[in-house]
Amino acid sequence: MEERPAGDDAAALTPDEAVDEAGERARAIRESVAVGVATAIYGISFGALSVAAGLDVWQTVFLSLVMFTGGSQFALVGVLAAGGAAAGGSAIATAAMLGIRNVVYGMRMKPLVGGSPARNVLAAWITIDESTAVALAQKLPGNARLGFWLTGAIVFVGWNLTTLAGALIGDAMGDTRAWGLDAAAGAAFLGLLWPRLKRFQAGAVAVGAAVVAAVVMPFVMPGLPVLIAALVALLVGWFDLFDRRRRA
């Protein structure tokens, strides 16, 4: 789940000029379907990787239904694949930390799509990169709401179906290493990272975290290198280092 909403787009939700309302609505629907379908398809890779990591089909399906946030799901099974049950604590911590961005998304979406407690729970459940990004890309609040719910619903249904398909395929494959599935995991994380590297600061953090993970790997338990590397983000983020886009 990769597309990252641009924070500045929130301002675009207030219509400041006459816009073609029917056209805008059609655009919101088109974007929701395009983003939703593209995202849902790669549930296949999650399903297959999860089974390759040692989870069974039910556990894999449960993650897509309940956790339903791709980065955390890939992280959980990735850390378990690398470290086994002994890395359980690290796997949980990594998945949870990757879920922190959803708090930010929820805060941005609440005024648009929140309401009764039941509505909030439903909205929170489908608050992910894609539903937030499509909503924030709309000019009119009504279309933002439409984009959020439609994208979220398409990804939810599609992601769960493709997860099941991927898990069954992975299950039938047997030796997943011979099929190169262990290499697919790195490519999956790279795909999640790629759209986030537009700013220099993000690139610097990515390189720093990668180096730290590699350096500490031989000395600590599997699972811990990822958590230690997260300190790079804390350090750079706290002091706002490597910011080439100085505020005016």
């Binding site: 990769e2 955390s72 690398a82 359980g88 590297l197 599997p222």
Partner: protein, 101 residues
């Protein structure tokens, strides 16, 4: 801790975070520093996961078929190939190197 325990705890944590955004008063993470750290945290974790998945073998660092597979995936992302295509290509490259290498 069984695998189910792990899954339940991790799912509860991520779901609670999602709900948190709708429950806590607006403000905290909208401030610049927390929002920036939350953003960069995602980047750091993903970058570290790439290294662990591509070079890790237990606690050892090894260079094997996964490295060329990742390079192919990166090239495909660079030309804006879809996620699923790059991931599948990485698997095919690694499998082919192991089969014929």
């Amino acid at each position: 801790m069984t695998t189910w325990h792990l899954i339940l705890i991790a799912s509860a944590a991520t779901l609670a975070l999602k709900l948190g955004g709708y429950l806590v008063p607006v403000g905290f993470l909208e401030r610049e520093r927390p929002a920036r750290i939350a953003d960069l945290l995602t980047v750091a974790l993903l970058a570290a996961l790439i290294v662990v998945q591509t070079l890790g073998a237990g606690q050892a660092l090894v260079v094997d078929a996964r490295v060329p597979a990742l390079i192919v995936a990166a090239a495909l992302y660079a030309i804006r190939a879809p996620f699923i295509v790059a991931v599948a290509a990485a698997a095919v490259v690694a499998a082919a190197i192991r089969a014929f290498g």
